[in-house]
């Protein structure tokens, strides 16, 4: 009898323990996304997505989410990252949060966080990402590689560039275009390639002497390059080129070395659709979401998902989350070198 009671107590204890363990496991794994989907549907079926994802990529990525989670429609507020953060700040100033999810370059995500706009939380899917690809309020959504690209009609095969240093040569005078905000080039050269500010500055001063023409927006830079506005673009994105080359555009790009910067996803504080926001943040970080990013023409951040196109460079100079704190310093030098506003 005593043994029976003992056995029974043991069974109950084991049951309680296993229930607790299971609950802990489920918590660590997070609620299944389909459960979050059910909750999300009760929020009205809309997701306000503040993202820099270009329409050409968004047209493939966002419908994949809508197909996976029927009943949810994405309202994509697209603009450059500056404009999106400025908009969110304006809305917060008026006492409003309209955005659910923010997906922009990491340095701008940091700005939004500093303004108190983002919620601190870790999502279960983030554990699949290495350090440096996640923070306590963001997870990398994709990587962007700053590379060199050129117009094949204007650059002969024998003069094709192999590294950034090549552009110090006067033969590139009046033949280069770049984006005025891409101080990442200076930062990566200084911190990772030369490990010396002086050397990086000296190189960029020589490049500046060759008269670089600046145009805002990387997509526009790519299009200008295709059209022949310049022979070479020194701060273009690698993911902009495979598609254009497939369509027969006269361009090629350098994959020997490049600068990797992070695009990150974060959730707004007190968003109008919190569960929908969480669902999207988790999906885009999951392998499934990352595959959609790859198919959509981006370079996935997930270590197990390969990009569809050749967008990763052989040598990678990664701009880390810690580097972002040094942006103001390098921005000042960058603007001085190229005499930018």
């Amino acid at each position: 009898m005593y043994a029976m009671r003992y056995f029974f107590a043991l069974m109950v204890g084991a049951l309680v323990l296993s229930t607790l363990l299971f609950a802990g496991y489920v918590h660590a794994q997070g609620e299944p996304m389909d459960e979050v989907h059910k909750k999300a549907l009760k929020e009205g079926g809309t997701l306000n997505f503040y993202g820099t994802l270009a329409q050409i990529n968004a047209a493939k990525v966002l419908p994949a989410f809508e197909k996976r989670f029927p009943g949810i429609k994405i309202n994509h507020v697209d603009a450059t990252s500056d404009k999106l953060v400025a908009r969110a700040v304006t809305e917060a100033r008026g006492g409003r949060t309209i955005g659910d999810v923010l997906q922009i370059p990491l340095e701008n995500v940091v700005q939004a966080f500093e303004q108190g706009l983002l919620v601190e939380q870790t999502i279960p899917e983030s554990k699949e990402y290495p350090e440096g690809m996640k923070g306590n309020y963001w997870v990398a959504s994709d990587l962007q590689f700053f590379i060199v690209a050129w117009n094949t009609k204007l650059v002969k095969v024998e003069e094709e560039p192999k590294q950034f240093d090549d552009f110090a040569d006067p033969r590139w005078k009046n033949r280069m275009i770049a984006e005025p905000r891409d101080l990442e080039l200076l930062m990566a050269l200084a911190k990772y390639k030369f490990k010396s500010d002086e050397k990086a500055i000296a190189l960029l001063k020589k490049i500046a002497a060759n008269n670089v023409e600046f145009h805002s927006g990387h997509s526009q830079l790519a299009e200008l390059l295709v059209a022949g506005q310049a022979a070479v673009c020194i701060t273009c994105y690698s993911h902009h080129y495979p598609g254009r080359i497939r369509r027969g555009a006269p361009v090629n790009y350098m994959l020997t070395e490049g600068i990797a910067s992070i695009n990150a996803t974060a959730v707004f504080k007190n968003p109008p659709h919190p569960n929908t926001a969480m669902l999207f943040a988790r999906w885009i970080a999951s392998q499934e979401g990352q595959k959609a990013m790859a198919v959509g023409g981006r370079t996935p951040a997930h270590p197990k998902i390969e990009p569809v196109d050749k967008t990763r460079t052989e040598k990678i100079y990664p701009i880390s989350a810690a580097d972002i704190k040094e942006y103001p310093k390098y921005e000042k030098i960058w603007k001085e070198i190229f005499n930018l506003r």
Binding site: I56, A86, R87, R93, I98, Q111, G217, V226, A227
Partner: protein, 576 residues
Amino acid sequence: MSTIALPRSVKNSVALLGDPALLIPLVGVGVLIYLAVLPLFMLLLGSFQMEVAPREFVATFKNYQNAYASQYTYSTFRNSVIFASGSAVLAFALGTALAWLVERTNTPLRLVFIPLAVVPLILPGVLESIAWIFLLSPKFGYINVALMSLFGLESPPFNIFSLPGMIWAHSVGQVPLAFLMMVAAFKSMDPSLEESAMMSGADTLQTLHRVTLRLLMPTSASVLLILFVRTLESFETPALIGIPARIFVYTSEIYLAFNEYPPDYGRGAALAVGLLILSAAGVWLYTRSTREGKRFQTVTGKAFRPRQFDLGLWRWLGCAFLMVYFLVVVLLPFLVMLWASFLPFFATPSLDSLQKLTFENYQYLFGFRPFWGAMKNSLVLALMSATLAMMLTSLIAWIVYKSRLPGSWMLDFLAFVPITVPGIVFGMALILLYVAFPIPIYGTIWVLLIAYVTRFIPYGMRSASGAILQIHSELEEAAAASGASWWETFKRVTLPLLRPGIVAGWIYIFIVSFREFSTSVLLATGDSRVLSILLFTMFEQGQVTVVAAIGILMILTLLAVVTAFYKISGRVGIQT
């Protein structure tokens, strides 16, 4: 201004305090204050506020200091003045030359040219700028490429990404306005003075120089002024050409103050207040000068038709000028857009690119949800804005010009206010007002509807009041004498007679709403995006050939709606 005695019923009711008749102008004044004045008040308030902590504001003059005493103040001022005066002079010169050739000379084909000259009015400003980027970009612009290969030039002769480039791209869009105003001026000119000059032995050029142009001086000054103000207020060219070229004017500074991180609302608002004052002063000077001009008009009742100069053989040169203008300024931007819309990526015309022509962009748009969303928003907004603005302004115009209801002068004044407000300034004012407004319309198409209706009230007033002044008071008096109340008189007599004016105003407001950019650029996002903003965003994202396809569909939609409206209004007996 002719006013009539109010219908008896109104007189009686005005006498009785608290009667609804008195409420009508009061409600009108209230609506206009809400629409036009309240946002400007918020803007003014914003320009004296600084955020010290999230949602904590202090009163300050520092925004003005930041806006007008920075290292960029001088360059912005200089760029703005050069851009505005250059565009005004160029548009005026082209418009006047065309108007003179068409109206006062025997240039062949001049009559065919009149409708063709105003066609560019339908081309949205954003598209106009994009088309000129395609044509005059230094390295790939079609005109540059053609000239370089034709004459073996080493460097491109034109660069759109410069101040002269901005002036050109903007002013060609302003030529139809200058043309129409100068045609009107030439038409109303008494020819006797010119005839006297000719009789005294002056030749055509001397007469033109010494008499015609001098007679036109007052009108010319006011046309130049209005072109100057309109350029100062414009944002299409500064956004598409100025910002990439790092040439900043007031409108782009205001836009960037709001759209660059960290946003500086105070500085933006202070810049906006400055631009508002400049623009209001310009409009005030313009109305003053046109009023002054009227004092010197000789309304003689003498039926005269301005004489036509015989240009002799020179008339063929005049004809060539008209044709070159039409081909280069009207047709070429459209053709380049059409060509680009069939390219897989932007390329100069060649055998190679001819083989690459494709329907890919149109196919892409067919399944591209944001395009259909923007098309729906643009159509709904243009239809609603035109209808609401014309309903509101025909009522206001009737109160102002036909009733003696107290407060009608105030209505007239308030309905005029929006014309002094640059689009981007109004957009900014609306953000400041509606972002914290209890009714959640910020970020929806409703805030755009409010913006469009308010901004285009002055245009509606112009059409409606023009029509109302032509209605003789006897008709209304007859209605009143037959016992109709003022409302019945308005509904059954005045309104039907107003229809032609209303239709003209409706079409105009439809067009300007459909192509509106400078207010929408701050207000339209995501689901509330309109076509002009989709064009701008996608152009920024480099999908230029898709942008060209959207542009072509946008022009076709405008033409289709305007034609349909003409047909329908013609069928119900409305002539415009």
